[in-house]
């Protein structure tokens, strides 16, 4: 199992994101209600969509890992979750900025999507302590896959429950741009969404390549030192000791 660094993908990502940036600032009109600050929507929502889709992708990769036993799928699942969690931090930060600018508070419990996302984020944060708490590599990967599948099933349930709670208890405060997107805004949004998805994929590919290389390096180093090499071990998930898996 080895992963190569992407070549074309980063260039494509930069181009798309640059295009999105230009569109956001020079093309998309200011929102009637919220003014300029609404533009953070073009960053916040694509980040959130990509993070959530990333979690679902990780769940599918976990299923493939369990069915095939191939550690490559576990590596992909691990990295998918990792990048999505990082995007998740950005979602919460941009969401806070938006909330602060709109309502003067750093966090609003009235906005169901933000609350749901916080819960999902907290759940996926527990992925790391879980992996680090299991020493046996194969079992760690298996249990992590089970977790990824469980959490993936959880995400839609969570959004349904929270949304129902908010609509029944509080009226939707956020008459968001979802309702009233002009064609220009839609185009801008789509470009940003595609750019963010490309960014996600680029980051995933780079991280996989980096881990794979580091693992291979560790293996070579140990072979040089004359240690017995566990030839079959090709896992790049974290272990409690500082011992990278073989590539």
């Amino acid at each position: 199992m080895s992963f190569k660094a992407p070549r074309i993908l980063p260039a494509l990502t930069v181009v798309t994101l640059a295009a999105g940036f230009i569109l956001v600032f020079y093309f998309a009109p200011n929102d009637a209600d919220q003014g300029f600050i609404q533009k953070i929507f073009y960053l916040h929502v694509p980040l959130a969509v990509c993070a959530l889709v990333g979690f679902m992708v990780a769940a599918v990769q976990a299923v493939l890992h369990l069915r095939s036993g191939d550690p490559g799928w576990d590596a992909r699942s691990y990295v998918s979750i990792h990048i999505s969690v990082i995007l998740g931090v950005a979602v919460l930060i941009t969401g806070s900025i938006w909330a602060r600018a709109s309502w003067g508070k750093w966090f609003v419990w009235d906005e169901p999507t933000l609350v749901s996302f916080l819960i999902v984020f907290l759940l996926y944060c527990t992925y790391y302590p879980l992996r680090y708490a299991i020493e046996d590599r194969e079992r760690q990967a298996r249990y992590a896959s089970v977790f990824a599948i469980t959490a993936g099933a959880f995400v839609p349930l969570n959004f349904i429950a929270v949304r129902l709670a908010e609509t029944l208890v509080h009226p939707r405060v956020f008459a968001t741009a979802e309702g009233g997107l002009t064609p220009k805004m839609t185009l801008t949004f789509l470009v940003c969404l595609v750019g963010m998805a490309l960014l996600w994929q680029t980051l995933v590919r780079f991280e996989l390549a980096a881990k794979s290389t580091r693992a291979r390096l560790g293996r070579l180093r140990r072979a040089l030192e004359g240690d017995e090499v566990a030839a079959g071990g090709s896992r790049i998930a974290p272990v409690p000791r500082e011992a990278p898996g073989a590539g």
Binding site: E135, D136, A230, G232, G233
Partner: protein
């Protein structure tokens, strides 16, 4: 697992790998973290025979036994037990193996009878009461059947565990130091229960080198680092060679 396809079984031990081989290990390795516990274990056992596994502490004897019991999967190599290729076909072998490990595998808050009853139901034995009473009687536990496992002495616990392992009349017995905690009288009872029988093959892990060799048809001798020192007929191995593997002050 992708590793299995990479290694095709070969007749490494040179013995006839006919359909009666109840156990066939080829190039089996099991890792713990980065290091192998046992490596390149290849041996076969024909039906009705006894395989004795010898080696110092930490050599990986228990690991080999647990792999045979389908409780651990090998990191590399091929394992076939009772015609089932592990780990994919483990379900074929389950219920036909009797495993006696270091733990008695009995629930402490249940009585001996309740534990055996639970195991009987898990193994799908209908109306197990007669079988349970027979085994308890033969193991010398007839008066202790209603005792909570928590209150048993080590020797009684070991005998109860043996009853558990034998309950479903397995074709293959995997025994990890079966005589531990037993006084000589109990040892005689247990030898009778666990001895060779037609239609039953045995794998015996023991520290008693001479006794183990005497009973063995095949021997697997492991060194302290998990490397195989001997894997084949017992006749080809002398007790002196066997004991050499244990190191220490051997004259």
């Amino acid at each position: 697992m992708n590793m299995e396809s990479a290694l095709e079984p070969s007749t490494a031990a040179g013995t006839h790998r006919g359909p009666e081989a109840v156990i066939a290990l080829t190039g089996v390795r099991r890792d713990y973290g980065e290091r192998p516990v046992v490596s390149d274990v290849s041996i076969e056992l024909a039906a009705g025979q006894t395989l004795t596994v010898l080696g110092p502490n930490g050599a990986g004897k228990t690991t080999v036994l647990r792999i045979l019991a389908t409780l651990l999967r090998p990191s590399a190599g091929g394992v076939t037990v009772l015609g089932a290729r592990l780990p994919r076909e483990a379900w074929k072998a389950r219920g036909r193996i009797g495993y006696l490990g270091h733990q008695p595998l009995l629930y402490r808050e249940l009585t001996v009878r309740e534990n055996l009853g639970l195991n009987a139901r898990l193994h799908g034995i209908e109306r197990p009461e007669a079988r349970i009473e027979e085994l308890i009687g033969r193991a010398g536990l007839a008066r202790r059947g209603g005792e909570l496992v928590r209150n048993l002495s080590a020797g009684m616990l070991q005998r109860a565990a043996i009853c558990r392992a034998l309950l479903h009349e397995p074709e293959l017995l995997l025994l990890d130091e079966p005589r531990s905690h037993l006084d000589p009288a109990a040892g005689v009872i247990v030898d009778e229960l666990l001895g060779p029988e037609p239609g039953r093959s045995r794998v015996l892990v023991t520290h008693a080198v001479e006794a183990g060799l005497a009973e063995a048809d095949q021997v697997l001798l492991l060194r302290a680092d998990g490397i195989v020192a001997h894997a084949g007929p017992a006749a080809a191995l002398s007790p002196g060679d066997a004991r050499a593997v244990y190191g220490g002050a051997v004259r």
